[in-house]
């Protein structure tokens, strides 16, 4: 049987609603739907095969391709990269950057790496105290300057410290900032220019919906994203924002944050996520 446009569109419409309910951004759902239509309309299907199963199967293929094309072995990268490896964490306000840095520090120390943290948020009230408490809890060295000082200088200081003490990894925190504030994005660009981080990790929350597209795109266009971490998956959103971020950036999702404790960080698993969203 030749697949006709009308029947395929009807099934696509139902799948689109499932993706939207899973927090995949409308813009991304449109693009995925277009790709599916192009792959299916006019093609042949065997008589016994149900159309809805065929379309869903094709959707899963498209989603897997999206993730496999950008897969990345974080630990292998760290092992092989010249030390110190400098990782800068960026994102809008409140997404979980500071807490995620603490979790990543624990993961790396569990694998026998030495870590230093740079208190790169010199702006927000209580930011340095917050990361200092995490560093103390984990027994990690923290480099900090006083509140209001230049974040580029703190991070620079941390990198020099890592070089002098032969520390493997520098995890640099930065203040949350709205992607609508050009001066704040410019500040990130300056941090990047001065410190040349090996990886810029975009931290966003799985509890956000369509806005992930705007934020990921803006951060990617101005400072460049090498990979992303999606937090707060334990609040039980479906996790479609990971699809939005992966689609817009073309870069890997490295971890999911699944809680507020130091061990609440799991490696990204595309098959698991796709299964969760499609129910």
């Amino acid at each position: 049987i030749i697949l006709d446009e009308r029947k395929v569109s009807k099934i696509l419409g139902e799948l689109e609603l499932i993706l939207l309910e899973g927090d995949v951004a409308l813009e991304v759902v449109d693009k995925i739907s277009e790709e599916l239509k192009a792959n299916l309309v006019g093609k042949k299907k065997k008589i016994g095969v149900r159309l809805s199963n065929l379309v869903e199967h094709e959707l899963i293929k498209v989603l897997k391709k999206l993730f496999y094309s950008s897969s990345f072995d974080f630990y292998k990268y760290i092992e092989e990269r010249e030390k110190p490896v400098v990782i800068l964490f960026v994102g809008v306000n409140g997404t979980g950057k500071t807490t995620t840095i603490a979790k990543v520090a624990k993961k790396l120390m569990d694998r026998d790496h030495s870590v230093v943290i740079a208190a790169g948020d010199t702006f927000r009230a209580g930011a340095i105290e917050q990361i200092e408490e995490h560093a103390t809890n984990l027994g990690v060295k923290l480099i900090k300057h006083k509140a209001g000082s230049d974040p580029s200088a703190v991070i620079y200081d941390a990198i020099q410290h890592a070089r002098a003490k032969k520390i493997d990894i520098v995890l640099a925190d930065s203040a949350g900032r709205m992607h609508t504030k050009k001066n704040l994005l410019d500040q990130l660009e300056k941090i990047k220019r001065i410190n040349s981080p090996d990886l810029i990790v975009f931290v966003d929350e799985s509890t956000a919906g369509n806005d992930c597209v705007e934020r990921a795109r803006m951060f990617n266009e101005t400072v460049g994203i090498d990979g992303s971490i999606l937090t707060k998956l334990d609040a039980d959103p479906k996790g479609g924002s990971a699809i939005s971020v992966a689609y817009i950036t073309g870069k890997p999702i490295i971890f999911f944050g699944i809680g507020q404790e130091y061990d609440d960080l799991i490696e990204f698993d595309a098959d698991w996520l796709i299964d969760r969203i499609l129910g």
Binding site: E129, C212, A235
Partner: protein, 286 residues
Amino acid sequence: KLGDSLRGIVRKIAKSSKIDKYFVEEMVRDIQRALLQADVNVRHVMQLSKNLKERALSEDLHPRLNPREHVIKVLYDEIVDIIGKGVEIPLSKQKIMLVGLQGSGKTTTVAKLAKYFKNKNLKTAVICADTFRPGAYDQLSQLVGEHGIGFYGEKREKDAIKIVKNGLKALKDYEVIIADTAGRHALEEDLIKEMIDLEKVFQPDYKFLVLDAAIGQLASKQAKAFHDAIGISGIIITKFDGTAKGGGSLSASKETSIPIAFIGTGERIDDLEKFDPERFVSRLLG
């Protein structure tokens, strides 16, 4: 984009006292997309568009509105029916409690609300009842520090109930007392229980649920859980200075009948506005 497609459709419309069915369907389709893109709950978008279509087609055109304005007016009324026109908080002695998901902007908003009342010449103080988050005490005390706002907290105390009890005694000469609480979500049963216990001890006159403007499809479920637990008086939407449209708050409101009270528009202590339904709806529709 919604405006361009609507202008294109309006050019084809003939004058009549009832509106053209084809025109309404086109417009409702565009509105659906705008609402979905704004993070309104998918189920709510379907309900809203069904109601909108029925009302727009059955109601007579207002003599002074063109067909497009008629549909927008019907939609505006539907939405304002849900979110309300703001919450009038009396300028008198009262206690206020802020709750919400992790990172939604509660601590910052507690400081902003405190400044709001201080500006109206009410003796205002805040209590840090977040015993979980590292640096919570420092964050809130620094935020209210220079503004003549009272502060109570106990850095080493892990029992939030104790802090609230002690805080109420220490701050008895203040007119407005606002309590900051730790972030929590519906699946954290022990934290939901803590919130219920805090509410019993603090006995707030107003309980605000703080929601990030960018919150997605889980907004209505979370709002319902908070409302079922302690009864919410109003929603405060934060981070409206980003690009997020706040559709999640619309859904939270629809699910629980809680009105929207304030909007946070930045990180500074003055970045708090009273809720304006017209501006909210026009932003929602892009």
